[in-house]
């Protein structure tokens, strides 16, 4: 079916995706750089192209709390946040996943104070990996729109029933305009059925929801949650395949491997920097270097087997983190190492900390990372955790 070309920003693409998903309830609280998504949705409601209850709440905590109330009623719901707002709603994140509410939320990845910064990095969402949400990171506006639609199909799958956070890099995706293909409503309706949850507050069969449970049962509910998130592995693939059939744009599910087949040096990235890294891989390939790129799409569930398989023959693996757990290493690095070690693979792994607080990640920075990987692959000593493009000298 015809898809209309539009020139929009990542935020606008999210709003279009949300409109096409037809949520009944949207809860909104402004925060840079997410605000434009909510402004566009309120315009759509205002002009009547989106039939949704749009409530302007008083905080991010309330945004997600209200979304849960709506979801408990059996309504498809959407909300969005960023950074400080995501952390402010942290309690509700655990609550929503524990309550098995299939809410979809956009998060504009942004650094976390202090120091204050409105610019992008991944500290906000990565610090909430344990909140029970599925987390997907997108690279551009098209993927943002498409993943909002996929996210509902994944979250609402009865094997999964877990909320999904769609992460867009603040500014580099949220504020960058680019051409996208917008599917028709009819095509989206054919892909994404309307929300008809088995569990909801029903007047005929009332429920007591969100109860407490003693140690005798509590762990069982946590086990179920884990089952739901694990079941998402399979469902994500199914949904992505179905999406590919409907719209011609499959994304590869949990992760995407780029020119990795014979790659000896592999760089692993998250989010929009993957696009920049892809161009560097192309350039190095032209020079005959056997380099490849893995773009992790889902941090939860984590592509454990997929990464182990693609890095099977790698001589060194680099992990670019736009975040660091102070006193240790980046969260993506920890996760990748665990996947490799759990599989018995022990190539040298290097953690590149870059792009914190909106710091630009240049092509030459990525070239530097591959140089470090080549050196480590050749058996030379390496630094496990290295800040790239810090801009000043240090005593290290």
């Amino acid at each position: 079916m015809a898809q209309v070309k539009q020139f929009v920003s990542g935020n606008e693409a999210v709003a279009i995706g949300a409109r096409l998903a037809c949520p009944q309830v949207i809860t909104a609280y402004p925060i840079t750089p997410q605000t434009v998504a909510m402004e566009r949705l309120s315009e759509m409601v205002g002009e009547g192209t989106l039939q949704a209850q749009f409530i302007l709440v008083e905080s991010e905590h309330s945004a997600l709390s209200a979304a849960m109330g709506a979801s408990a009623f059996g309504s498809r719901t959407f909300t969005a946040t960023s950074s400080q707002g995501l952390l402010y709603m942290a309690e509700c994140l655990h609550y929503a996943s524990g309550g098995r509410f299939p809410i979809v939320m956009m998060n504009a990845n942004r650094s976390v104070a202090l120091p204050w910064s409105i610019y992008g990095d991944h500290r906000d969402s990565l610090s909430l990996l344990d909140s029970g949400w599925l987390q997907v990171y997108v690279e551009d506006a098209q993927e943002a729109l498409d993943m909002i639609l996929q996210a509902y199909a994944i979250a609402e799958n009865e094997q999964v029933l877990t909320p999904v956070m769609v992460n867009l890099d603040g500014f580099t995706v949220t504020h960058t305009y680019e051409p996208i293909r917008v599917p028709s409503q009819a095509a989206v309706d054919a892909f994404l059925p309307s929300f008809a949850p088995a569990i909801k507050m029903d007047l005929a069969k009332p429920l007591n929801m969100g109860f407490s449970s003693t140690p005798a049962d509590n762990m069982a509910f946590k086990y179920q949650q884990h089952q739901g998130a694990e079941a998402a592995r399979c469902v994500i693939d199914q949904v992505d395949r179905s999406f590919g059939e409907h719209f011609g744009r499959p994304y590869g599910g949990l992760m995407e491997a780029y020119r990795c087949d014979d790659a000896e040096l592999i760089l692993i990235t998250l989010g929009s920097v993957s696009g920049t890294a892809r161009r560097v891989v192309d350039a190095l390939r032209e020079q005959g270097e056997k380099v490849g790129l893995v773009k992790i799409r889902f941090m939860r569930p984590f592509p454990r087997e997929e990464i182990a398989a693609v890095a099977r023959n790698a001589r060194a693996v680099g992990i670019l983190d736009r975040d660091i757990s102070f006193g240790y290493e980046g969260a993506v690095y920890t996760n990748v190492n665990s996947a490799l070690a759990g599989n018995g693979q022990v190539p040298p792994t290097l953690n590149f900390i870059a792009g914190l607080g909106g710091r630009d990640i240049r092509k030459e920075d990525i070239e530097t990372m591959f140089l470090r990987l080549a050196s480590a692959a050749d058996g030379r000593p390496f630094q496990r955790v290295e800040f790239i493009h810090l801009g000043v000298m240090t005593d290290d």
Partner: protein
């Protein structure tokens, strides 16, 4: 009786025996409160004029209406004594259970 009642609850054996998420049938009771109390209200049917003050005042909803005088659901009375204390005609006395 138009009150929730105690129903059998087989302990979950398999993970599938649990509801999907912390959501369960409203008003599903598996346990009473009789063991909580030291004293039990005794309703003097001759004195009770069915004013229903005690019926309203019971935090448990353990007192219920009937034709002539209120009646007590002993399974759910915690013995707080509010009914006896609120009764304007002293038609309820708290007494020790046998």
């Amino acid at each position: 009786m138009r009150r929730p009642h105690i129903r059998p609850f087989p302990r979950p054996v398999h993970i599938r025996d649990y509801p999907c998420g912390p959501h369960f049938q409203a008003g599903h009771l598996v346990d009473n409160a009789a063991g909580w109390r030291l004293e039990t209200p005794e309703i003097n049917g001759a004195r009770c004029v069915n004013c229903l003050r005690c019926y309203l005042a019971c935090p448990e909803g353990a007192l219920y209406r009937s034709e002539k005088a209120v009646r007590l659901d002993k399974d759910f009375c915690k013995g707080c004594g509010i009914c006896a204390s609120e009764c304007p005609l002293q038609a309820i006395q708290m007494g020790r259970d046998e």
